[in-house]
Amino acid sequence: MDGEDIVGVVVGVLGLCSAVTPIFLGVVVGTLIERSHLKRLARREAALQGILVTQLRSFPALASSHLPPRLICAEVVISSDYLRTLFTNTRKIFGGEMRSMTRVADRARREATLRVLEEAQGLGYNAVCNLRYASADLAGNSGKRALMSPIFVYGTAYIAAGPKVSPAAPTKSPFSS
């Protein structure tokens, strides 16, 4: 083996590393980020006892108080990591459920809902009605690099009376790993 071969091998290995490294990084760090986010979500949902959340428009269990009903909004954008983005492109060939994107959308929805409920609680309200979900389309036509889930949640906060129905106990969601 002469000098040129060695240089060729070194460049080849470096090239392989630079192609593999972002994928490797994405999978490892991305999975850690996802797991810690799911743990934080479960913890915050458990801490959010005593708030009545409905999607009804009729102010269930309304009580009189000095706080007027108020619109509360929150939004979040969550993306999946590089390897999963690549895999979804493969999935498009065969069809079927994109489980990783379902997980990302689920996380984004739970996060945005928690932000609305925590803001309502912070302002002194204990009930939110008419909760609505909207998604934005930030990616446009930018193709592969933009698999993200922007979720926008808004509802009306008010004061409710009586014993509260706490939100569903954080059972294991079918979408979480």
């Binding site: 979040v76 954008v77 969550i78 930030l138």
Partner: protein
């Protein structure tokens, strides 16, 4: 001004409807945050730059809608809805719309006015 996304506000009655009010905005982030977002796409997680983009859009669209409502002389905006559309990659339009009304305290239904009644006086 009372702003809700319901059609009724308990304890109040609509005296007069002032019409549809709307506010919209199209925002794009600056290039630095766009590049940071594509790096973050490597590992996934929350894209704070885009979240802030949506938050600023929402605030500006709501401000414009409320300014229109105030111009019409309303004291409440009901049934607020939001809709978004993508203009180009990295830019989004947020459109907020609601109905501007003049509310008055509903005496027969609520013999005692709600404690926050002065907000519509």
């Amino acid at each position: 001004m009372i702003v809700t996304n319901t059609e009724i506000v308990p304890g109040f009655r609509i005296r007069e409807v002032r019409g549809l009010v709307q506010g919209n905005t199209v925002r794009a982030k600056h290039l630095g945050r766009d590049i940071a977002a594509s790096l973050k796409n490597l590992v996934g997680g929350e894209l704070h730059g885009y979240t802030e983009l949506l938050t600023e859009s929402r605030r500006q669209a709501m401000e414009r809608m409320l300014a229109q409502a105030q111009q019409l002389g309303a004291n409440a905006v009901l049934n607020v809805r939001f809709t978004t559309s993508s203009i180009t990659a990295g830019a989004a339009e947020l459109y907020a719309y609601g109905t501007a009304v003049i509310l008055e305290v509903d005496r027969p239904a609520a013999p005692q006015a709600p404690a926050y009644a002065e907000i519509v006086s």
